[in-house]
Amino acid sequence: MSLWGAVALGVAVVVALVLALVLRARDGRVRAAAGASGGWALAGCSPSGQDRVLLLQLSSPVCAPCRQTAAVLTELAGRTVGLVHVELDVADRPDAARELGVLRTPTVVAFDRDGTELLRVSGVPRAADLLAGVRPALSGRLAP
């Protein structure tokens, strides 16, 4: 029986569990905007008449949660007027990841009609929280 080994075991378990709690709390939670802009240009499109909010999803080729995120956002955009979902692969578009300061995939950055960042989420977003976060921008008055 190694005393220092037992101490190291205790430390490793505590560190891993604290990290696990931090990651779990952060995963999928809506965070404040990091001040990015020009979302529509990065997505390679411009908002048409009804479009109010862009959900720009950054994904990577090997990433199971990216596919779950895409499914959640496709469904959300499908049933929400004015909400647009665009997915970019960071392998094809490293410039977009750099521009937005994104290290982890999936990360979703929401932009308003002017292209100003509203919020961002890393991990699979909870649809209700995401929708609540962008709702003020969605209900903005329609352009004439």
Partner: protein, 148 residues
């Protein structure tokens, strides 16, 4: 490393393997046995160098655990998981060398680091080695883009 494309893997199997790894590494720390550390190093090496279908804990999962569960709802890419086995291999190898050469502190520290990463994966499914793989892939494509 991941030249022949491997079929996608059941993420529950990956977490199961991480759980077994955690238990084995905990026994290494408690017993101070360099030979047990060496055995875990071989386990990592099989998965990292020959593919996940040869990784002993994955085989155990496929033969014993998976038949009792529903089919997986989703699968994940093998390449990042295989890379994480390589990272585990490096830490376990350093730990083994530490224990067997009398550098016990090195053995303890390297084993404890590997254990923390394995426990993180087993507990919440966060695979540190897989995240490293994704970042390295991105840096690699960025550099290719710059030189092209």
């Amino acid at each position: 490393m991941a030249t022949p494309a491997e079929p996608p893997v059941d993420p529950r199997g990956v977490r199961f393997a991480a759980g077994v790894t955690t238990v084995v590494l905990a026994l290494v720390l408690l017993s101070g046995s360099g030979w047990l550390a060496a055995a875990q190093t071989v386990v990592f090496a099989l998965g990292a160098f020959f593919g996940l279908r040869f990784a002993p804990y994955s085989v155990l999962y496929r033969l014993v655990v998976a038949p009792r569960l529903n089919p997986p709802a989703e699968k994940e890419e093998a390449a990042p998981v295989r890379f994480s086995q390589l990272v585990g291999f490096v830490f376990a190898l350093v730990g083994t060398i530490g224990y067997l050469t009398g550098l016990t502190v090195l053995g303890i520290v390297a084993t404890a680091l590997a254990l923390a990463a394995a426990l993180l994966n087993a507990a919440v499914g966060f695979c540190l080695g897989c995240e490293m793989y994704a970042l390295i892939q991105r840096l690699r494509t960025r550099n290719q883009g710059a030189t092209a």
